[in-house]
């Protein structure tokens, strides 16, 4: 296993998904999805609810076993790996709902994020970094995560994900239910992480406009397929997105 934050082999994107087919029971959700995320790149995945975005990232993480297709993380095939191994390979995901352990303290939440961190990462040092990034988490370390505001809980979840020393972050609707100013703060941090730590970020967002302000590229999904790939710059020029939803 390669060390975290090490650049993937030349020419290999950080995340390379090809022809992914997946679903739940009799319900096939993804019909051959392909997408790539490079190190230091923020890619947003757009599309209406039920288009298959969450299913796609759950398959990448190994939480859902794909029926066919491949997932490669930094060149290594992880298609059949369990979550534990994918997390250890440097992938962290934040679900759109129920993304903290509400009755556990903020401190415990953060430590749980490191439960499967790649070996050799100093948890204490990581904890300090995360608390630097989100000072509120240091202040409220003893408080149950469920008692914090929505925005603060988002920060807990982001902190938790960062505790695993990821090089690829999969974020499912991180702006859901948050005030615009909070969204701006969080998105700002994401851009910093991509630029400063070369994190690759795959961002699922309904708040398309705001996502495009920090993204480099965008994919649009509909009915389990990618219907459009575009640079964020060109996406930003569109007057609206109704035709894509």
């Amino acid at each position: 296993m390669s060390a975290p934050n090490e650049a993937p082999p030349a020419g290999e994107p950080l995340l390379d998904v090809r022809d992914l087919v997946a679903g739940y029971g009799r319900k096939q959700v993804l019909h051959g999805v392909g997408l790539r995320v490079g190190a230091g790149e923020i890619v947003t995945l757009m599309g209406h609810n039920g288009a298959g975005k969450t299913t796609a990232i759950r398959s990448v993480l190994g939480a859902l076993r794909p029926r066919s297709g491949t997932v490669r993380i930094a060149g290594r095939d992880t298609t059949r790996d369990p979550v534990r191994k994918v997390v250890a390979a440097g992938v962290a995901m934040i679900p759109s709902e129920r993304f903290v352990f509400p009755d556990l303290s903020v401190h415990d939440n953060l430590l749980l994020g490191a439960a499967n961190a790649p070996s050799g990462s100093g948890t204490a040092e990581r904890l300090a970094t995360v608390k630097d990034l989100f000072p509120i988490l240091a202040e409220r370390a003893r408080q149950p995560a469920g008692s914090m505001s929505g925005g603060q809980q988002r920060m807990v979840s982001l902190g938790m994900a960062l505790m695993a020393r990821p090089r690829l972050l999969l974020l499912d609707e991180p702006s859901l239910g948050l005030a615009p100013s909070v969204v701006e703060t969080i998105f700002g941090r994401l851009r910093d992480l991509a630029d400063g730590e070369h994190l690759g970020i795959l961002l699922l967002e309904q708040n398309v406009k705001q996502a495009l302000t920090i993204a480099d590229r965008a994919y649009v999904m509909r009915s389990g397929q990618i219907i459009l790939e575009e640079t964020a710059e060109r996406m930003r020029l569109r007057p609206d997105f109704w035709d894509l939803f």
Binding site: G25, R26, K27, Q28, V29, H31, H48, N49, G50, A51, E173, S175, L176, G177, P180, V183, E205, Q206, N207, V208, K209, Q210, A211, L212, T213, R222, S223, G224, R236, D240, F241, W242, F245
Partner: protein, 571 residues
């Protein structure tokens, strides 16, 4: 000797049939039915044995007392999640056994013994041979009653409760009433069986009705097959006979044989649960009765009759259509969070209204408030002049407002036809009072024919006999639509009818909803796929943060810069 065992086998088989009706059909677990049998046993030993009552009279009292306890336990625990019912019945068993074992009037740990000289209808019950007749009679009676309850419209509702209580309630069934009813009935039957069991034994002891009996009966039900009464009889007799076979055939000491039998029960139970959880005899599936009218054309795969012959009066102008349902000022707060704020909504006859809006805008909450599954803090919902707020959810459905679910919620182990039949309203066979009157099966054939027409409407008549869990996802969405239609609800709330189905099915779904509108019904749908909304909606309401903030045609809404901002965020 063997006859004595046969008596016991018949009675235990009857108990297994009873418990199977509750566990296998209605899906409600009870550890307490051994204790209910104990109540029956103690009642007859106390009344007939100690106080010389006629046996028949004390059996009657036994049934009454057991039923009464059943109702009380059921009323308390059946509205709560499953684990509380289990807990309640466990604790109830312990308490009853505790009472038996500690009260001097009931003989304490030794129980009430030496009961004899019983007679029934002039029949002296002394030798084991004498007991054969009443034991067999009780088994036949219990079997007949259970079969009538289980394999009938009533049983269909029970199975619905087992598969998905919420979905069954959403088809207009009073699921809590059914649960309490079947719990009480089976308690009463257990009381009767216990009354015979103790009569045959000549005694009632606390140990006889404890967990080993509960476990033995579970073993019979599981081995014989859940929701298969014949299986319970076969397994009941066969498993009871293990002990005499061990003793007589293999020469095991009598004290050891009973224990060895329990060990074997346990082993069998685990094996069956792992290897063949449906039991030796699988649940009976009902072949669909052929529709009585022979002119229903067999639908060829995927082509719906509805699409072939849509009624043309669909083109009612939205503005002219009559208002069928009017919701006003619906608000709901959960803790500090406002889930719905002053929702006012009109649904007009023969039109499709769509609710759109970003994630978490409260669209599903709006459905829940309309259908009464969540009671609003303020506001009213009037359907054809009837106020729906405060009405029980199943009554709301009967008043004509029915919903589908985003995640479909078909009753998996029932066939498509049974799924739709369950939704047909006003079935006499679903009511206890009418169930034992003649004509139920004829009426049920008519219900089947009706259900068949709805399956045909959505183009799935050829799948009538298919179990719901064998359908593709798109097909299951269509069956759930047929089910909603079969309730004859005037207003249909469709929760994401096209989500999760692949492109080929989206078209079918669209045609189908259009056909429903053409039927003159009123549709309100939540949908994220705006293509679907563009295609179908006569009128669209935009929701954000629990509020309806705009309404109009979808073109008007998507033309608004402010709504685009609400949907896609601000830059």
């Amino acid at each position: 000797m063997w006859i004595n065992y046969l008596d016991q086998a018949l009675l235990l088989a009857a108990l297994a049939v009873t418990v199977n009706l509750l566990v296998g059909y209605a899906g409600q677990v009870s550890v307490a039915h051994a204790a209910f049998a104990g109540i029956g046993g103690y009642t007859i030993c106390f009344l007939s044995g100690e106080h010389g009552w006629p046996y028949l009279a004390s059996l009657g009292v036994a049934i009454l007392i057991a039923t009464a306890f059943g109702i009380v336990v059921g009323l308390i625990a059946l509205g709560l999640p499953e684990e509380f019912l289990i807990l309640m019945t466990l604790a109830f068993s312990l308490a009853i056994i505790g009472i038996f074992a500690t009260f001097d009037a009931l003989g304490g740990v030794m129980g009430l013994t030496g009961v004899g000289g019983l007679s029934l209808f002039g029949l002296e019950l002394d030798s084991p041979r004498d007991w054969l007749v009443p034991s067999a009679a009780v088994l036949v009676l219990v079997f007949a009653v259970s079969r009538r309850l289980g394999e009938s419209p009533y049983g269909r509702v029970l199975k619905g409760v087992r598969e998905d209580t919420v979905a069954t309630r959403s088809l207009g069934k009073n699921t809590f009433g059914y649960k309490v009813g079947i719990f009480a009935i089976t308690s009463g039957m257990a009381g009767l069986i216990g009354g015979l069991y103790s009569g045959w034994l000549g005694q009632a002891t606390p140990a006889a009705f404890g967990f080993p009996l509960a476990m033995a009966v579970f073993a019979m039900v599981i081995v014989g097959g859940s929701a298969n009464l014949t299986g319970s009889v076969v397994a009941g007799v066969a498993l009871t006979m293990i002990e005499p076979v061990l003793r007589e055939g293999l020469g095991v000491q009598s004290s050891q044989a009973a224990l060895l039998q329990l060990v074997l029960y346990g082993v069998l139970l685990v094996l069956i649960m792992i290897v063949r959880p449906q039991g030796l005899f699988a649940e009976r599936r009902h072949e669909p009765a052929a529709p009585e009218t022979g002119d229903a054309p067999p639908a060829e795969g995927g082509t719906a009759r509805a699409v072939l012959a849509p009624r043309e009066e669909a083109a009612v102008a939205y503005a002219d259509a009559e208002v069928v349902l009017r919701a006003e000022g619906l608000s709901k707060r959960f803790g500090g969070i406002t889930a719905a704020k002053d929702i006012t909504l009109e649904l007009r006859r023969g039109t499709v209204t769509a609710l759109v809006g970003p994630n978490g805008a409260g669209k599903t909450t709006a459905f829940n408030l309309l259908t009464g599954t969540v009671v609003p803090d303020t506001g009213s919902v009037v359907l054809n002049g009837v106020e729906l707020v405060g009405m029980r959810p199943d009554l709301v459905v009967r008043a004509g407002l029915v919903r589908t679910f985003q995640d479909v919620r078909l009753l998996n182990r029932l066939t498509c036809l049974e799924n739709v039949m369950l939704a047909v309203p006003g079935q006499a066979g679903e009511r206890l009072g009418r169930l034992f009157a003649p004509g139920v099966s004829r009426a049920d054939r008519a219900v089947a024919a009706q259900a068949m027409e709805w399956l045909d409407f959505v183009g799935l008549a050829d799948q009538a006999a298919t179990p719901a869990d064998a359908l593709s996802y798109g097909q299951s969405k269509l069956v759930s639509l047929a089910r909603a239609l079969a309730t004859r609800g005037e207003v249909l709330l469709l929760d994401e009818p096209a989500s999760g189905v692949d492109a080929a099915w989206v078209g079918t779904m669209l045609e189908m909803v259009a056909a429903v509108r053409a039927e003159g019904r009123t549709v309100c749908l939540v949908e994220h796929n705006l293509d679907v909304v563009r295609e179908l909606a006569d009128h669209t309401c935009f929701m954000e943060l629990g509020e309806i903030t705009a309404a109009g045609t979808i073109a008007e809404l998507t033309g608004s810069a402010r709504l685009a901002e609400a949907y896609f965020g601000a830059q």
